[in-house]
């Protein structure tokens, strides 16, 4: 029996083609399990043949993180889909990992509910979002993916199926593996089913927008908004890259940044708060029912150098200034969530590698001086070897120990994660 036959005994599988490449790594096989049991059998077969396994959800972010040092088998979750259970009265749902986030929201919306996670990239699966620890604007009020997970089913590298948490929102029985697995990039196990808590879709929402000229102005306005206690659900700032213009810390006239506040709640309350926000922000502030077109997306495209900077709340303006300075003539585009202390930046993929290194170093140095960090989410192939994707990571020794316990043979997405894990 060939290896492929053995894999096929577990679930549908085929030989890989060049389109299945992960970063530059050419896999040998692709498999499509439809259940936890099939994932388990597949991973046991893969273990028997010592195959290295990389999970693929929607494939929207497979070039993110470190390129795997080996990826013999792509475990595609495209058929591991469906909402297993939606208990609307309990505000929870159990969902298979390969289900596209958009599909999840569609099902929940029928009951007036949602999973408070933004779909930053169309086509993303719930498993992919949880595995990368993703979140968008709503993170300000609702936190990131790990905060929504109340239980999960995971299949370990050796094929053993494990559960943690459950279907109730309050639960402290045993270790919270949900948090450990969220953001683990598929290096500790394959998520097959995820139980999440839900929230009602709010009766009303308002987007209050105001042009801003400098990061310092954003900070000052944020402080004023805070004093008014308007309880925004999200606060985002877009700093667009001007077409070909030389950018410095001072804004180019005619290209203002845009600050947008999202308010949600009962209709009367939202209307009152939106009016108050317009008054507090002054300038050309106005309220809208719809978000700007960049809302809930990334500033970068698939070929860009993609950065994520995290600082304590209220400290983002430093990294914004220093990144713009380091970028000089390069058109760097930045989206920030100042109230959550997170920003994403896009540097055009054709940037000179030396300049790329300079920009990353500038962002990292300032972020770290505030106690934060800077991660390179994705980098063009010619830049990647020049930079440290993750930067220094606290607790790396314990992380290695955890990886070793879960996947002693290093078979799941080797090399993808921090410190070469």
């Amino acid at each position: 029996m060939t290896t492929l036959d053995d894999l096929r005994a577990a679930c549908e599988a085929r030989a890989a083609t060049p389109t299945d490449r992960v970063a530059d790594v050419e896999p040998r096989f692709v498999a499509y399990p439809t259940s936890t049991d099939e994932v388990s059998r597949l991973l046991r077969a893969a273990a028997a043949h010592q195959l290295h396994v990389v999970v693929r959800g929607g494939g929207t972010k497979l070039h993110w993180g470190g390129p795997p040092s080996a990826a013999d088998l792509i475990l595609d979750t495209g058929k591991l889909t469906g909402v297993v259970e939606h208990a609307a009265g309990d505000l929870i749902a159990v969902i298979r990992a390969g289900t596209p986030l958009a599909e999840v929201q569609r099902v929940l919306a029928r009951s007036g509910q949602r999973l408070p996670l933004d779909e930053m990239l169309p086509g993303a699966t719930l498993g992919g979002v949880v595995a990368t620890g993703a979140a968008g604007p709503l993170r300000l009020r609702h936190g990131t993916a790990r905060d929504q997970v109340i239980g999960l089913t995971v299949v370990r590298a050796d094929g053993v199926v494990a559960h943690s948490g459950g279907k109730v929102v309050k639960n402290v029985a045993g270790y919270d593996l949900g948090r450990l697995l969220a953001g683990s990039y598929g290096t500790l196990g394959v998520l097959t089913e995820i139980a999440v808590k839900l929230t009602p879709i709010p009766a009303a929402r308002a987007f209050v927008r105001r042009p801003v000229r400098t990061p310092a102005e954003v900070r000052d306005l944020s402080v004023r908004l805070k004093q008014e206690r308007l309880a925004p659900v999200a606060l985002e700032v877009e700093c667009p890259a001007p077409d070909g213009a030389r950018r410095t810390a001072t804004r180019v006239p005619g290209h203002p940044d845009l600050m947008v506040l999202l308010l949600e709640g009962p209709a009367d309350g939202v209307a009152a708060r939106a009016a108050k926000a317009v008054e507090v922000l002054g300038g050309d502030a106005r309220a809208d029912a719809e978000p700007p077109d960049w809302w809930g997306s990334y500033p970068f495209g698939p070929d860009d150098l993609a950065l994520q900077v995290v600082t304590p709340v209220g400290q983002l303006f430093g990294p914004v200034y220093s990144m713009r300075d380091a970028a000089r003539g390069t058109g760097i585009r930045i989206f920030c969530s100042p109230a959550a202390g997170v920003l994403h930046a896009a540097v055009p993929g054709d940037v000179d590698p030396d300049r790329a290194v300079e920009i990353v170093n500038a962002a990292r140095t300032v972020a770290m001086s505030h106690g934060g960090h800077c991660t390179v989410l994705a980098a063009p192939p010619k830049v990647r070897p020049e930079i440290d994707l993750w930067g220094p990571v606290e607790g790396i020794g314990l992380m290695r120990a955890v990886k070793h316990e879960f996947d002693p043979a290093g078979r799941l997405a080797p090399g993808r994660f921090v410190g070469g894990i």
Partner: protein, 490 residues
């Protein structure tokens, strides 16, 4: 060397490095630490150490490591699952002298505190600036933040604001090996790498000792409304809860009490809840004023439709205090109507409330053991108080049985054996009813990564500790010989 000799050696070493006032060896003094809030289990610790700094914790943990003795961390000792139950062959490390608030950073909306800081002390410190620390366990006047981290504690307001895990963004820990490591993002809300902070929180002192805690501070809301609604029976109160949730409202808190717990509270604190109430709900709403006004109208209407015969809205802080008084005193109050009682802590999906409450009533009827129900109705976290009299032969055992049967009901409905008090030593035997051997084995992989020698709070949480280095029971990773092609795969 025998254990007593090793303990003596550790005591000597720590007296030399920490000073005599930080090391307790007198048996009478040791006995004051023999149990936590769960007095059913008591063990006199081999030695008690009261460190004042991270360095002293490191020194203590290293002394334990070198002498191969287990150790247990203890905060305020209010735990209700025996998590801080000492070991007679080990060292109890008490954080009560590590009580400094090291930094308050309002720009970054966080504070850095030592583990022995009392939960409420943080809110007291920052309330002049209109901030507070959100998780508010009923024990918040005495429990420590380190204990909260270990238990992932929640409170009445976690329906809207979440638990400790949502409010702690960084931890300095001393590992079981005596290393100092920071977990999480520190003052940042996101971090890089595995979420070790997330697993440490709620690990009940089995992965290390937290020595600094970065907590998020939350702005105090513009407006708070508190309503007491009285119903004839539990079913109609339960219906009101469902109606409120279905209306898309997330109150800051929804608490429910049954007739027996109301009776106990009346006797204890004279809270004057409406006469004839078979159940009361306390609903608290908070947020911007106009939002709260709209929600209050909706909540009032839902309660009336579900049969509330009296609604009281607190007009000011004093009246709010009066409404909460009965609820907050309920545990202690029950002590007045029963010589002994067990505080159970189980969780069910909220929609199963009517069925489970009926089952508990039937159980009580059948066994003659009274059960008072006080709970966080919004998230289905029950706190049945199982009443008994130790002096009546057999009643203690009967109460234990009823208490266990209630957990079985919770599990049967897809719930959990603990919502906030933890597994500790008390519920370790119930954990396998909720999780398979593989589930527990997988959880313990984390333990093996942090504490391969199993020195940190051994015997808690997991019924049978997995020996690190031991091959997992089922589906074992291939043996090295097999991986090298020297043996068959299957």
């Amino acid at each position: 060397m025998e254990v007593p000799a090793r303990l003596a050696a550790v005591a000597e070493r720590l007296v030399a490095s920490l000073g005599p006032h930080s090391v307790l060896t007198d048996p009478a003094e040791l006995r004051t630490y023999e149990c936590d809030g769960l007095a059913r289990y008591a063990v006199s610790p081999g030695l008690v150490v009261l460190p004042e700094t991270t360095e002293q914790v490191v020194e203590t943990v290293r002394a334990c490591r070198d002498a191969d003795l287990p150790f247990v961390a203890r905060g305020s000792g209010t735990g209700l699952s025996g998590g801080a139950l000492p070991r007679s062959d080990g060292v109890l490390i008490v954080t009560s002298r590590m009580r400094r608030i090291l930094e308050v950073d309002l720009d970054a909306e966080c504070a850095i505190v030592e583990p022995g800081v009392i939960n409420l002390a943080i809110s007291r410190e920052v309330s002049p600036a209109h901030y507070h620390y959100a998780p508010d366990p009923s024990s918040q006047q005495i429990c420590s933040i380190g204990g909260n981290v270990a238990e992932n504690s929640g409170g009445a307001h976690c329906l809207k604001y979440g638990f400790t895990a949502h409010h702690v963004t960084g931890l300095e820990i001393v590992t079981p090996d005596g290393d100092v490591v920071w977990l999480g993002g520190g003052k940042c809300r996101q971090s890089t790498g595995y979420d070790l902070l997330g697993v440490f929180i709620g690990s009940e002192g089995t992965l290390g000792i937290a020595t600094k805690v970065v907590v998020r501070l939350v702005q105090t809301q513009q407006c708070v409304e508190t309503v007491l609604a009285a119903f004839e029976d539990m079913a109609s109160a339960g219906e009101a809860v469902s109606a409120i949730i279905a209306a898309g409202i997330t109150p800051a808190a929804i608490e429910m009490m049954d007739a027996l717990s109301i009776e106990a509270a009346e006797q204890a604190v004279d809270c004057r809840y409406p006469d004839g109430a078979g159940a009361v709900l306390i609903v608290e709403l908070d947020g911007p004023a106009d939002d709260v006004a709209a929600e209050l109208a909706a909540v009032t209407a839902r309660c009336e439709q579900s049969g509330a015969f009296e609604l009281r809205r607190a007009a000011d802080e004093y009246e709010r205090g009066e409404i909460w008084k009965g609820r907050k005193s309920a545990f202690a109050a029950v002590g007045r109507i029963s010589p002994d009682y067990i505080v159970q802590d189980g969780v069910i999906p909220r929609t199963a409330l009517p069925e489970v409450l009926a089952d508990i009533a039937a159980l009580s009827e059948r066994t003659g053991i009274r059960v008072a129900n006080v709970f966080h109705a919004g998230d289905g976290n029950l706190h049945p108080l199982v009443l008994y009299d130790e002096s009546v032969p057999g009643q203690g055992d009967a109460a234990e049985e009823v208490s266990g049967a209630i957990l079985d009901l919770c599990i049967g409905h897809g719930g959990s054996i603990t919502g906030e008090h933890g597994v500790g030593v008390d519920k370790a035997k119930h954990l396998p009813k909720m999780f398979t051997a593989d589930d527990l084995d997988t959880m313990q992989l984390v333990r093996c990564a942090f504490d391969p020698a199993q020195r940190c709070n051994p015997g808690k949480v997991f019924p049978t500790p997995r020996l690190c280095g031991e091959v997992p029971r089922r589906g074992a990773a291939p043996h090295p010989a097999q991986a090298a092609g020297l043996a068959e795969a299957f």
